[in-house]
């Protein structure tokens, strides 16, 4: 099929920010509202319900801390990928992208074990206010991690051929944003007890 991949509009840059990066910023802004709405609802309830702290004490702080470490490290790889891409080093960028995605999958695996354990304990989505928020917020975040990791693997294929290198920075931006969300989820869900 003949659909053009890029329009002339796409190649223009009136603001001085390349289009792909500009759109990433807007996507991040709109995601901020989705997560913001959810987290604002959670914080409001949490502050008003002291009994949720008892439920929260069943979360695994160590697993959460390890996952934070994993995401922080993968963020480092993402920014190193960006650095490599800026230096026109497609192979290096692809390597770091794959490492970042690996971090994402490791995060999901840890999450999987953690949730399996909690579900075995009898804490499921319908177990009460805290658990409803816990699974929904973390689940939404995990979906973002999964999507980001998959996109990274796809971009890595191109990057290895030195094609579409500016994209590396954009997926990196998104990844850092997902990381920042987790930086706040970690104390909200695991530490505040």
């Amino acid at each position: 099929m003949s659909a053009p991949a890029r329009s002339i509009a796409n190649l223009r840059s009136v603001t001085g920010i390349p289009t792909a990066r500009l759109v990433t910023w807007w996507v991040i802004a709109s995601e901020m509202f989705i997560f913001g709405g959810l987290l604002a609802s959670y914080v409001m309830h949490r502050l008003a319900h002291p009994e949720w702290a008892i439920a929260a004490s069943n979360t695994n702080t160590k697993a959460g801390a390890f996952n934070t470490f994993v995401l922080l490290t993968s963020s480092l790889f993402a920014v190193l990928a960006h650095k490599a891409a800026d230096a026109e080093d497609g192979k290096g960028a692809a390597k770091y992208l794959r490492l970042t995605a690996l971090g994402g999958f490791l995060f999901l695996i840890v999450k999987g074990f953690e949730w399996t354990h909690e579900i075995r304990e009898g804490f499921v989505l319908a177990s009460g206010g805290f658990w409803s928020f816990y699974y929904t917020v973390a689940g939404l975040h995990a979906l973002h991690v999964l999507a980001g990791a998959i996109i990274m693997l796809i971009f890595a294929v191109d990057a290895a051929k030195n094609v579409n290198l500016p994209r590396v920075q954009c997926i990196g931006l998104y990844w850092h944003f997902v990381d920042i969300i987790w930086i706040f989820l970690f104390p909200l869900l695991y530490i505040a007890k």
């Binding site: 802004a29 901020m32 913001g36 914080v43 706040f184």
Partner: protein
């Protein structure tokens, strides 16, 4: 929101594209140290210290990631303004909603169901411990 950038035109688009890359490993090391501090804080058992450390460090970490990894500081300035505006609007949402949701009692209303839930939750979990 487009105001500043638009008039400047796209002449220096290429220069904005390539940022100065600092020492990312150092930033990452600081982030990890901060993470360790916040986790240790959680095990002290002092509630106010735990919360202060946890959320204070979360803000610092988020700022560091935004500044050093996302390069918000060298991005065109309105991007930062855009993100801050988003946070501001979320603060408006919070401020407008909190008086009804975060409180269980107010002028001429009383959220007895929430109070019951707190009571039931505390008792049930107390037995569980």
């Amino acid at each position: 929101m487009t105001s500043h950038a638009v008039s400047e035109g796209g002449s220096d688009a290429a220069s904005a594209d390539h940022v100065h890359h600092g020492n990312y490993v150092k930033v990452w090391a600081v982030l990890v140290v901060l993470l360790i501090i916040s986790v240790v804080g959680a095990f002290t058992g002092i509630r106010w210290l735990t919360l202060l450390l946890a959320f204070g460090i979360a803000v610092i970490k988020a700022y560091m990631v935004a500044k050093n990894f996302m390069h918000v500081n060298v991005e065109r300035r309105w991007v930062g303004y855009l993100l801050i505006t988003c946070l501001l609007f979320l603060a408006i949402l919070f401020a407008g909603v909190a008086p009804d949701i975060m409180k269980h009692q107010g002028l001429h209303w009383d959220n007895y169901a929430a109070k019951q839930a707190i009571q039931a939750g505390s008792q049930e979990n107390g037995k569980h411990e």
